[in-house]
C-alpha cells in the first residue's frame, strides 16, 4: 500500500492531491500569503496613524484597509493555518493513514483561493486601480452600513465559500478523529491538540451556517427587497448583531482552542514532564466551547438591551474566566518542577502563556457591562483582541511551525535567525499593542483614520512597533524557505523528550504514514 500509483507531479500534484500532508502544506502556504497580505494592510493603517492629520490614504480607503485586514487575518490567515496544522498532524498523531475523506479534503482547500479572490476583487474594481470600492464597513459588517455598499454580493459569496470550506474541513476532522484512531487510542488518550481540534470542529459546524444565514439575509435585503435589518420595513438592525455575534463569539474560540492544543503539546516536551491535569484540560476546553455559545451579546452592551439581558450576558461572560484560568494554571503546573530548556518552540509557547493571559485579563475587564460602556469600541478593545489573536493564536501557530517543521521537512531551522525572529517579534509586538491599552482608556475610538492630538505619542510608538513586527515576519518567510531548502538534518525523535506517534515516523515524514496502524498500549 505504501508505494503510490501514477502520482502526478508538478502543478497537478497540488491540484489533485488527496494526501493530508500535501493539503496541510497548501493550507499553511495559503495562510502565510494571507498573513503577509493582511499584514501589508496593517502597515498602511499604522502608516496613516503614525502622525495626527491625514497623510497617506483617504478615510474610505483607510476603512477598507481595516475591514480587509480583519477579514483576511481571521478567515485567510488564522483559520486556514489551524486547519493546515490539523491536516498535517491529526492523522499522524492518532496513527491514521490519512484523513477520513481525502477527496473532500482536496475540495475544502481549493475552495479557499476562489473565496479569497472574490473577497479582494472589489478592491480592484471601479475607475482606477485600487480605487477603493472594496468592503469598507468593518470586518463585523454591521447593517445597515454594509447594505450601503455596492459590490456587496462579492463579499456575501466569498463568505459562503469560506463557510463551505470550513464545514467540509470540520466534518473531515471529526470523521477522522472518531473513526480512524489507532487501536488502543481511547478518546482520553488522544493528544491535547487532537482534543482541541475535535471540539473546534463541532463549534465550526454549529456556527458557520449561522454566518451563512446572516450574509444571505444581507443579500436579500440588498437585492431582493426584504427587510430583515431595516426598521422601515419592520426589521431590526440589532438583530443583525445578535445573529452575527452568535457566530462571532464561538469564532474567536475557533481561532484560539487549537492554539491551546499546540501549546499543550509543546510545553510538556520542553519541561520534560507530562501535561498537568490532562482530564481537566479536556473538560476546560469543552466548558469554554459550551460557554462560547451563550455569551454573544457581551459584544453589544451599548445597543440598549434590557438590563436583565445585560446582567445575564455579564455573568455568563465572566464565567469563561474560570476554565481559562484552569488552563493557565495547568500550563504553569506543567512547567513547575520540570527540567526546562528553551528551544525556539518553547520560547513562543512561554510568550503565549504570558501574553495570552494579559489578553484574558482585559477580556474579563471588557466583560463587565458598566465599565464596558467606557471600553466599548475603543483601542482598549483593539489591544485586547490583538493580544489574544496575535500573541495568542498567531504565536502558537509560529511556535507550531518551529516545533513540527523538522518533522515536515527533515531539516532543522537556522537557530540564530529563529532567535532573532522570536526576540524581535516579542519586543515589537508589545511596543505595537501595549500602548493601545493606554490610548483606548484615554478615549480614542477604534476604526478612525485620524485622531485628536493627545493620542499622538502612543500612536507613534504603536506604529513603530508595528513596522518592526511586520518586518520581522518577512524574516520569518526567509526562515521558512531556508528550512525547506536545507539545514541541519533532524532526527526522527527531533526533540529529546517529545512524546506522540508523529515522532515515531521518519524525518521528513514519508508521504504515507501508518498504512498499518500502530498499537497503543
Amino acid at each position: 500500500m505504501s508505494e503510490h500509483h501514477d502520482a502526478p507531479t508538478g502543478i497537478k500534484r497540488w491540484l489533485f492531491t488527496t494526501n493530508h500532508k500535501d493539503i496541510g502544506t497548501l493550507y499553511l502556504w495559503f495562510s502565510f500569503i494571507m498573513l503577509l497580505t493582511g499584514g501589508a494592510m496593517a502597515m498602511v493603517i499604522r502608516a496613516e496613524l503614525l502622525y495626527p492629520g491625514m497623510q497617506v490614504v483617504d478615510p474610505n480607503f483607510f476603512n477598507m484597509m481595516t475591514t480587509m485586514h480583519g477579514l483576511i487575518m481571521v478567515f485567510g490567515a488564522i483559520m486556514p493555518a489551524m486547519v493546515g496544522l490539523a491536516n498535517w498532524l491529526i492523522p499522524m498523531m492518532i496513527g491514521a493513514p490519512d484523513m477520513a475523506l481525502p477527496r473532500m479534503n482536496n475540495w475544502s482547500f481549493w475552495i479557499l483561493p476562489g473565496a479569497a479572490i472574490l473577497l479582494v476583487a472589489p478592491m480592484f474594481m471601479g475607475g482606477d486601480f485600487l480605487s477603493g470600492q472594496g468592503p469598507a464597513f468593518g470586518w463585523t459588517f454591521y447593517e445597515p452600513l454594509s447594505g450601503q455598499y455596492g459590490n456587496l454580493a462579492f463579499f456575501v459569496f466569498a463568505v459562503h465559500l469560506l463557510g463551505f470550506s470550513s464545514i467540509m474541513g470540520s466534518i473531515n476532522i471529526i470523521a477522522t478523529i472518531l473513526n480512524m484512531r489507532a487501536p488502543g487510542m481511547s478518546l482520553m488518550k488522544m493528544p491535547m491538540f487532537v482534543w482541541t481540534w475535535l471540539i473546534t470542529a463541532f463549534l465550526l459546524i454549529a456556527v458557520m451556517p449561522v454566518l451563512a444565514g446572516v450574509v444571505t439575509m444581507m443579500l436579500t435585503d440588498k437585492y431582493f427587497g426584504t427587510s430583515f435589518f431595516d426598521a422601515a420595513g419592520g426589521g431590526d438592525p440589532v438583530m443583525f448583531q445578535h445573529v452575527f455575534w452568535f457566530f462571532g463569539h464561538p469564532e474567536v474560540y475557533i481561532m484560539i482552542l487549537p492554539a491551546f492544543g499546540v501549546v499543550s503539546q509543546i510545553i510538556p516536551t520542553f519541561a520534560r514532564k507530562k501535561l498537568f491535569g490532562y482530564a481537566s484540560m479536556v473538560y476546560a476546553t469543552a466548558a469554554i466551547a459550551f460557554l462560547s455559545f451563550i455569551v454573544w451579546a457581551h459584544h453589544m452592551f451599548t445597543v440598549g438591551m434590557p438590563v436583565a439581558g445585560e446582567l445575564y450576558f455579564m455573568y455568563a461572560t465572566v464565567m469563561i474566566a474560570v476554565p481559562t484560568a484552569v488552563k493557565v494554571f495547568n500550563w504553569t503546573a506543567t512547567m513547575w518542577k520540570g527540567a526546562i530548556t528553551f528551544e525556539i518552540p518553547m520560547l513562543w509557547s512561554i510568550a503565549f502563556v504570558f501574553l495570552f493571559t494579559i489578553g484574558g485579563f482585559t477580556g474579563l475587564m471588557l466583560g463587565l457591562a458598566p465599565v464596558d460602556f467606557q471600553y466599548h469600541d475603543t483601542y482598549f478593545v483593539v489591544a485586547h483582541f490583538h493580544y489574544v489573536l496575535v500573541t495568542g493564536a498567531l504565536f502558537a501557530i509560529i511556535g507550531a511551525f518551529y516545533y513540527w517543521v523538522p518533522k515536515w521537512t527533515g531539516n532543522m531551522y537556522n537557530e540564530t535567525l529563529a532567535q532573532i525572529h522570536f526576540w524581535v517579534s516579542l519586543i515589537s509586538v508589545n511596543i505595537l499593542f501595549f500602548p493601545q491599552h493606554f490610548i483606548g482608556l484615554a478615549g480614542m475610538p477604534r476604526r478612525i483614520p485620524d485622531y485628536a492630538i493627545q493620542f499622538a505619542d502612543w500612536n507613534f510608538w504603536s506604529s513603530i512597533g508595528g513596522f518592526i513586527f511586520g518586518l520581522s515576519q518577512v524574516l520569518f518567510l526567509y526562515i521558512v524557505i531556508k528550512t525547506i531548502k536545507g539545514g541541519k538534518k533532524a532526527t526522527d525523535q527531533v526533540w529529546e523528550s517529545a512524546e506522540g506517534l508523529e515522532w515515531t515516523v521518519a524525518s521528513p515524514a514519508p508521504y504515507h504514514t501508518f498504512a498499518t496502524p500502530p498499537e497503543i498500549k
Binding site: 478615510p59 474610505n60 470600492q133 422601515a232 465572566v318 530548556t341 504570558f354 460602556f373 485628536a452 493627545q454
Partner: protein, 385 residues
C-alpha cells in the same frame, strides 16, 4: 525565561503608569488610564475599572511570578530533574474555586453600578441626539430647568478642523483637533440629563468619556441613557460606532453651564432660532440672483458634499464625479434635487439637514461649477422635500 522578563518590564511600566498617571497627564486628559469622569456614576465606573485592574494586576503578578520562578529554578541547565506528578485533584478544585469566588466579588459592585446606570427615571432635561452621516442633530424635547424645549440644530466638525483633516492638507492642526464642533449642546450642571439616541441612516454611537455615557444610535429605534455633570466645563467625545467614510469626523461637544447661564443660553438660542426661521420663511419665497446662489452654493457644497465628491467635483473611489455627470448637466433639475433630498445608497439624504435655500443654491452650484455650465438657476421655491 527571557520572554517573561520583557513582560515583567512591561508590567512594571503599566504599574508605574497607573501610579503616576495623573501626574503625567496633560491638559484634561490622562494619556495612560481611563478618563476620570465628572459624573458620580462615571466615578463609580472608574472605581470599578480600577478595582478590576488591580485584581488583574495582583493575579498576574502571582501567576507570572510562579512561572518566572519555575523558569529560573527548574531549568535543565541547573540540573533540575523533572518531577513525576501530573495531576492533583485537591489543587485543581482549589484553583477552580478561587477564580469563582473572585468573580462573585467583582459581580456585586458591577451589578450595583449597572442597575444605577440603567435607571433613566426622574430626569430634569431630555435631549434627543440623532446620528447622521456624518454629524449629530440635537432636539431639546423636554426641560424642567429652563425653557429649551423646541431647540433643534445640527452639530458638525468645526470648519478649521475640517480643512486641516483633508488628505495632504498639511495645515497646522487647530486646538481640540477633531474634537470641536460648530455648535455645542449646552446643559445645566448638577441636573440629570436624559439622552435619547437614534439615527437617520446607519448605526452611530454617542460617546463622551468624561460624562461616562456611550449609547448606540440606531435607525428606527430610540435608546435612552443619561448623565449628570457635577462640574461646569466643556466635555468632548466622538462617534464610537463605525458609520462609514467620515466616522472619525463627527465629534460631540457638551458645554456644562451653571443653571442661570443655562437658562440664559436657552432663551437666547430660542430667540435666535425664531429669527432664523423667519429669515428662512422669507427666503423660501424670494427669488435670488445666480451669483447669490452660486456663492451660497459653494459654501453648502464645501461643508456637505466636498468630503466625497471632492473640491473640483471629480469624485473618487466609490463616490461618483459630478463634473460632467448626467445628474448635474443634462438630467432634470427635479431629479437632481430629489437625489440631494433623498440620498441614494452610500449617499445620505440631505432633505432634513439643509434648508430649501441651501438645496436650491447647491443644485445651482453643481449645475454651473467646474465647466458644467448648464446656465440653470434653481430657486428655493422649486425645492420640495
Amino acid at each position: 525565561m527571557s520572554a517573561s522578563k520583557v513582560t515583567k518590564q512591561l508590567g512594571g511600566l503599566f504599574l508605574t503608569a497607573l501610579l503616576f498617571g495623573p501626574a503625567m497627564a496633560f491638559a484634561e486628559y490622562s494619556t495612560l488610564n481611563m478618563t476620570e469622569s465628572v459624573s458620580k456614576i462615571g466615578q463609580d465606573m472608574y472605581d470599578l475599572h480600577m478595582l478590576v485592574l488591580w485584581i488583574c494586576v495582583v493575579a498576574g503578578v502571582l501567576v507570572f511570578g510562579v512561572i518566572i520562578y519555575s523558569l529560573i529554578n527548574h531549568r535543565k541547565s541547573k540540573g533540575a530533574q523533572p518531577a513525576p506528578f501530573h495531576e492533583n485533584t485537591t489543587i485543581e478544585v482549589i484553583w477552580t474555586t478561587i477564580p469563582l469566588i473572585i468573580l462573585v466579588a467583582i459581580a456585586v459592585p458591577s451589578t450595583k453600578t449597572l442597575l444605577k446606570y440603567e435607571d433613566t427615571s426622574n430626569s430634569d432635561l431630555t435631549i434627543k441626539a440623532t446620528g447622521w452621516q456624518w454629524k449629530w442633530e440635537y432636539d431639546y424635547i423636554d426641560d424642567k430647568v429652563g425653557d429649551s424645549k423646541g431647540i433643534r440644530f445640527f452639530s458638525s466638525l468645526s470648519k478649521d478642523a475640517n480643512e486641516a483633516r483633508q488628505l495632504g492638507a498639511n495645515k497646522e492642526l487647530p486646538e481640540h483637533y477633531l474634537l470641536d464642533v460648530d455648535k455645542r449642546i449646552v446643559v445645566p450642571v448638577g441636573k440629570k440629563v436624559r439622552v435619547l439616541t437614534t439615527a437617520a441612516d446607519v448605526i452611530h454611537a454617542w460617546w463622551v468619556p468624561e460624562l461616562a455615557i456611550k449609547r448606540d444610535a440606531i435607525p428606527g429605534f430610540v435608546n435612552e441613557s443619561w448623565f449628570q455633570a457635577e462640574k461646569v466645563g466643556v466635555y468632548r467625545g466622538q462617534c464610537a460606532e463605525l458609520c462609514g467614510k467620515d466616522h472619525g469626523f463627527m465629534p460631540i461637544v457638551v458645554e456644562v453651564k451653571s443653571v442661570e447661564d443655562y437658562k440664559q443660553w436657552a432663551s437666547n438660542a430660542k430667540a435666535q432660532a425664531a429669527r432664523e426661521q423667519a429669515a428662512a420663511d422669507a427666503a423660501s419665497g424670494k427669488v435670488y440672483s445666480k451669483a447669490e446662489l452660486m456663492a451660497k452654493g459653494k459654501d453648502v457644497y464645501t461643508t456637505n458634499c466636498q468630503a466625497c465628491h471632492q473640491a473640483e467635483g471629480q469624485g473618487g473611489g466609490p463616490f461618483p464625479a459630478l463634473k460632467g455627470s448626467k445628474v448635474a448637466t443634462t438630467g432634470s433639475i427635479a431629479d437632481h434635487i430629489g437625489l440631494i433630498v433623498k440620498g441614494k445608497g452610500i449617499m445620505p439624504p440631505f432633505g432634513a439637514q439643509l434648508s430649501a435655500l441651501d438645496i436650491a443654491a447647491v443644485t445651482t452650484y453643481e449645475r454651473n461649477a467646474w465647466g458644467n455650465d448648464t446656465g440653470d438657476v434653481v430657486q428655493p421655491s422649486q425645492v420640495s422635500k
